[in-house]
């Protein structure tokens, strides 16, 4: 590659002012497709969820899915957009084998949602800074099918022996949300990008219009990045990075692009307006299609569809039916639980706020719920390489574990074993406790026997304790806990051990 070496991020944002823009595609969780009655279920047999309309067979015609329109209106209202009294569809013409009609039916110059905003909170030096990201538009369109290129080394179309196309995804409704250029974020630009998508995703999930899973592609993000010499200069030439498939990668990709563009510009080069591909494994973007090679999409109004003209009273009723939005939830729990900005941000950044809220709703004290989701469960999710909500333990199960610890039925160590059992598919916490025989041992006779055994095994430690070095008793307690596989009541073991060794607890 002929790209110059990267400029360090701190230097890049000192020398240049980055401007970002984000285009997010959300696959709507409607039961049927955008323009026909076919199922949108993920993972069906290839081409089993198709009909003349979504296969683009000659003579077929589209009919707009009212559920998709409602989903668009829901998100538009949640993003403070104006809902257009009349919006239209257009045809975006280009040839590609996974696009049945060789044009995409999309909204172009008259989208359904315009002029909204989303406030995002970014942690900065121990406090939180709020950025307002302006939404230019949100519009409805249809998804394409999926190509599978067989043979060849890369899995890409070039060099493949043949290609297969699955049209199950063709025609699934998409909502594309486009921001205006986000200016003034400076060094925080990568974080603002990430937080924007995080917040948007939370809203999408809260209002129930999509599961918004990046790894399944039901939420996709393209990041536009440009640099300019000063915040007052005209916008620089931008690149559009695609193929970003996690929240973390949004931050990384924007950061990379800032460093790469800074290197090009510092070296006296110029930025080419182009599409770039993010590579998760290497953390790099590579050049895709340049503007010169870009297609002329020959947009024109879709003659097969009438304009969407949602009734104002209906729009108002959709607005009234919106649930509590994540920001409102945060404001509420902040007050009710007495959290500060950073504690809240910790929860949102970890992607566990909703889980904590649900765990509290299931009866757990807020502090315990937070501790579990930020601690043990976050660690397990990280180990498993999944988002916490995909870990496999539900908020009500966590609440039950918390309750068992609170009543003294489980120790913390035992509770972790119970969670492991739930994750292993052994059932609800009570079932795991029963099946594994996990219960705190409070029987003094049994514990004393174990203490005696531990004392016999560690005579030097026992002598130290007898000599008054009370803290050394931890070794004895640890040995007992180990021997009872964590089921002993550790506090009682300590009491029994000190008593046996004739030492007073002076801690």
């Amino acid at each position: 590659m002929s790209e110059p070496a990267l400029v360090a991020f701190d230097d890049a944002v000192t020398s240049f002012d980055p401007v970002i823009g984000l285009e997010v595609h959300v696959e709507l969780a409607t039961a049927s497709k955008m323009f026909c009655g076919c199922s949108t279920q993920f993972g069906g047999e290839p081409n089993s969820q198709t009909c003349p309309v979504c296969l683009g067979l000659p003579g077929s015609l589209p009919v707009v899915n009212a559920g998709a329109v409602e989903a668009a209106v829901r998100l538009g209202l949640a993003l403070h957009c104006t809902i257009a009294a009349s919006s239209t569809f257009a045809r975006k013409n280009y040839f590609y084998p996974d696009m049945p009609k060789n044009f995409q039916t999309t909204q172009y110059d008259q989208p359904i949602c315009v002029d909204g905003y989303l406030d995002v909170d970014v942690p900065v030096d121990g406090s939180v800074r709020r950025f307002r990201v302006e939404i230019e538009r949100a519009h409805l369109e249809e998804d394409t099918g999926k190509s599978l290129h067989v043979g060849g080394a890369t899995g890409r179309i070039h060099g493949a022996d043949y290609s297969l196309v699955d049209y199950n995804r063709a025609g699934i409704p998409l909502l594309e949300i486009v921001t205006r250029p986000v200016e003034g974020a400076g060094a925080l630009a990568p974080l603002v990008a990430r937080q924007y998508v995080t917040e948007l995703r939370a809203i999408v999930q809260a209002i129930g219009i999509s599961d918004a899973l990046m790894h399944q592609g039901s939420l996709r993000c393209d990041a536009n990045v440009s640099l300019r010499a000063t915040p007052t200069a005209a916008l620089g030439t931008r690149t559009e990075t695609k193929n970003i498939n996690s929240l973390r990668s949004i931050e990384r990709a924007v950061r990379y692009e800032i460093c790469r563009q800074a290197a090009v510009l510092s070296g006296g080069g110029r930025i080419v307006q182009e599409t770039r591909h993010w590579h998760e494994d290497t953390g790099l973007t590579t050049s895709g299609r340049t503007k010169e090679e870009a297609e002329d999409y020959r947009y024109f109004p879709e003659p097969d569809l009438a304009p969407l003209t949602p009734d104002a009273a209906w729009v108002a009723s959709v607005g009234a039916s919106l649930p509590e939005l994540p920001q409102e939830t945060r404001a509420r729990v902040r007050q009710e639980w007495g959290l500060d900005d950073l504690e809240l941000t910790q929860l949102t950044n970890a992607g566990v706020l909703d889980l904590v809220v649900a765990t509290v709703a299931a009866g757990a004290p807020p502090a315990a719920a937070r501790k579990w989701w930020l601690g043990e469960l976050a660690r397990l999710a990280n180990e498993a390489g999944v988002e916490p909500d995909a870990l496999g333990v539900a908020p009500h199960q966590v609440a039950r574990v918390v309750a068992l610890v609170d009543t003294g039925a489980l120790t913390e160590a035992l509770a972790r074993q119970v969670v492991a059992g739930v994750l292993a598919g052994e059932g609800d916490p009570d079932e795991v406790v029963a099946a594994r025989g996990l219960a705190v041992v409070n029987d003094d006779d049994a514990l004393l026997a174990a203490v005696d055994e531990a004392v016999a095994a560690h005579p030097d430690v026992a002598d130290k304790v007898r000599a008054g070095k009370v803290s050394a008793v931890g070794v004895i307690v640890g040995a007992v806990m180990k021997q009872t596989r964590g089921q002993a009541n550790a506090a009682r073991v300590r009491e029994l051990a000190l008593d046996r060794l004739g030492a007073a607890d002076i801690e």
Partner: protein, 498 residues
């Protein structure tokens, strides 16, 4: 009994309902006629003898069970090959769809079947309905039964010729700029383009979506109205389909007077470029209207002169997009390519080999007209003209109830006569295009033969949106007057004797 071939559809339906003829007997007669004369006419691309006889037998069985039959039950019908028919080849006259068998029926085809009509087969047409002579069919031209050296018009020349040659009593056509009315005019048959949105387009292989409309073709105005009533009405599968009730076309087609009807003669659709014999028959027909109680007024539609140019930007633009799906990937023809080819190479070769020259010409025109930087200049401007044409109609309909003009400037032209001159071919549709641009309904009815060549002349009626009934009211009276004046216009003896 006399042959069913020359009977009206209405009479055939009555005879079948009364048990005077069986539907199988009627279907057999038309299928045999097709076998006999279609070698010379080539109105059909596909004949479905087995399916037709089975459908006819089902009607006979229903009748035997005493079930209520619809007003056209058991009557055979030919379907233009641009309408999807489940299990029956559908080519749109193009090599690129040769052998394609749709898995579904167009809504209008479903309605034919449900009404007990017997589908004989699929009729020839200009490729993707692009043309005015049926010479652009990839499967060879259709010949006009009035003179086999002449074209039957187009794009629906197959449907019109099938009627004129008594190969079918009814047919479906589609009309984007005159493809029902112009062939009707040059074959002495009746054809109507309903109000845009009055008949479902679902299953109609789109040429220009904002202009296309399915309509009835018949030998009498009353038959056309009956078929119109069968196929019209809201269809939830077509978003441009109107929810309004179907205008009372059948009732209107029984009219015998025009009391109080104000008829406007469009001054721009006459004069230069119109054959004297065409104008003579037209003027004669109009002159007779006052005797039937109508008042006749001259009306100016100043923007009709720009309609043709606007049409030839809007149509190719929409067509260039509508025809993009024909790429060899999912259905139809796929070009053979060398091993190691790319999908783009396969698509390019398929389209290059699969499309005929007129289709290529219009795709290129449309692609250009929609290109970045040219859109406003071409497509955008054409849409403004379209609005002006709509206003001309609105203004005219403030003072008159219907408009009339000759359907075509000339009678049927010779095969090959205009093939090398696309503009001359396009000019054939100068009188029919405004109705498509405005979405208003229009109908062509025979008014006799031109003096200089003895070939049929058609009169066009245009009415306001959703007043399709007025087409049939005026059409019925014009038809009756023409028959009274000249007798029934039939192809000359010796060409195709019945």
């Amino acid at each position: 009994m006399s042959t069913p071939l020359t009977q009206s559809a209405q009479a055939l339906a009555e005879q079948i309902a009364a048990g005077d003829r069986s539907a199988v007997e009627v279907a057999t007669a038309f299928l045999d006629r097709i076998e006999e004369v279609d070698g010379a006419v080539h109105a059909f691309l596909h004949v479905d003898r087995g399916g037709a006889l089975a459908a006819a037998a089902a009607v006979d069985a229903a009748r035997a069970r005493g079930e209520d039959l619809g007003p056209l039950a058991g009557v055979p019908v030919a379907v233009k090959d641009v309408l999807a028919t489940a299990g029956m080849p559908t080519t749109a006259g193009s090599r690129i769809l040769a052998g394609w068998v749709p898995p579904y029926d167009a809504t209008v085809v479903t309605r034919l079947r449900e009404a007990g009509l017997v589908i004989l087969g699929k009729t020839n047409m200009d490729e993707f309905a692009m043309g005015s002579s049926t010479e652009h069919s990839a499967f060879g031209p259709t010949y006009n039964p009035w003179d086999l050296a002449r074209t039957p018009g187009g794009s629906g020349g197959g449907s019109a010729a099938a009627l004129a040659a008594f190969e079918a009593p009814l047919a479906l056509g589609t009309d984007t700029g005159g493809s029902i009315r112009q062939p009707a005019a040059v074959t002495a048959t009746v054809g109507a383009k309903p109000t845009y949105g009055g008949v479902s387009r679902y299953g109609l292989i789109a040429l220009a979506s904002s202009l296309d409309q399915v309509g009835p073709c018949a030998r009498t105005v009353a038959d056309a109205a009956l078929l119109h009533a069968v196929i019209a009405g809201h269809d939830p599968r077509d978003s441009t389909s109107l929810p309004s009730p179907v205008p009372p076309v059948v009732q209107a087609s029984t009219a015998t007077d025009l009391a109080g009807l104000r008829v406007g003669v469009v001054s721009e659709l006459s004069g230069d470029g119109y054959q004297p014999g065409v104008l003579a028959r037209f003027d004669e027909a109009v002159a007779g209207l006052e005797a039937r109680g109508a008042s006749v007024h001259e009306v100016s539609c100043p923007h009709f002169g720009y309609a043709l140019a606007a049409y030839y930007l809007i149509l190719p633009s929409e067509a260039s997009s509508n025809l993009a799906r024909f790429d060899g990937v999912r259905f139809g023809y796929r070009a053979g390519v060398e091993p190691g080819h790319t999908v783009e190479e396969m698509m390019t070769a398929t389209r290059g080999e699969g499309f005929g020259p007129e289709v290529v010409r219009r795709i290129v025109l449309g692609t250009y007209a929609l290109s970045a930087g040219y859109y406003d200049q071409y497509y955008g401007k054409a849409q403004k003209v379209r609005t002006l044409v709509q206003r001309d109609f609105a203004t005219a309909f403030d003072t008159v109830d219907v408009l009339v003009s000759p359907t075509t400037p000339t009678t049927a032209f010779l095969l090959g006569e205009k093939l090398a001159d696309p503009l001359a071919m396009y000019l054939n549709d100068v009188a029919t295009i405004p109705a498509n641009l405005a979405g208003v309904p229009a109908l062509s009815v025979p008014v006799g033969l031109a003096g200089e060549d003895g070939l049929p002349v058609g009169l066009q009626v245009m009415a306001p949106v959703l007043r399709d009934d007025l087409l049939y009211r005026l059409g019925a009276v014009v038809e009756a007057d023409a028959v009274a004046r000249h007798g029934v216009s039939l192809p000359g003896p010796g060409v195709l004797d019945v």
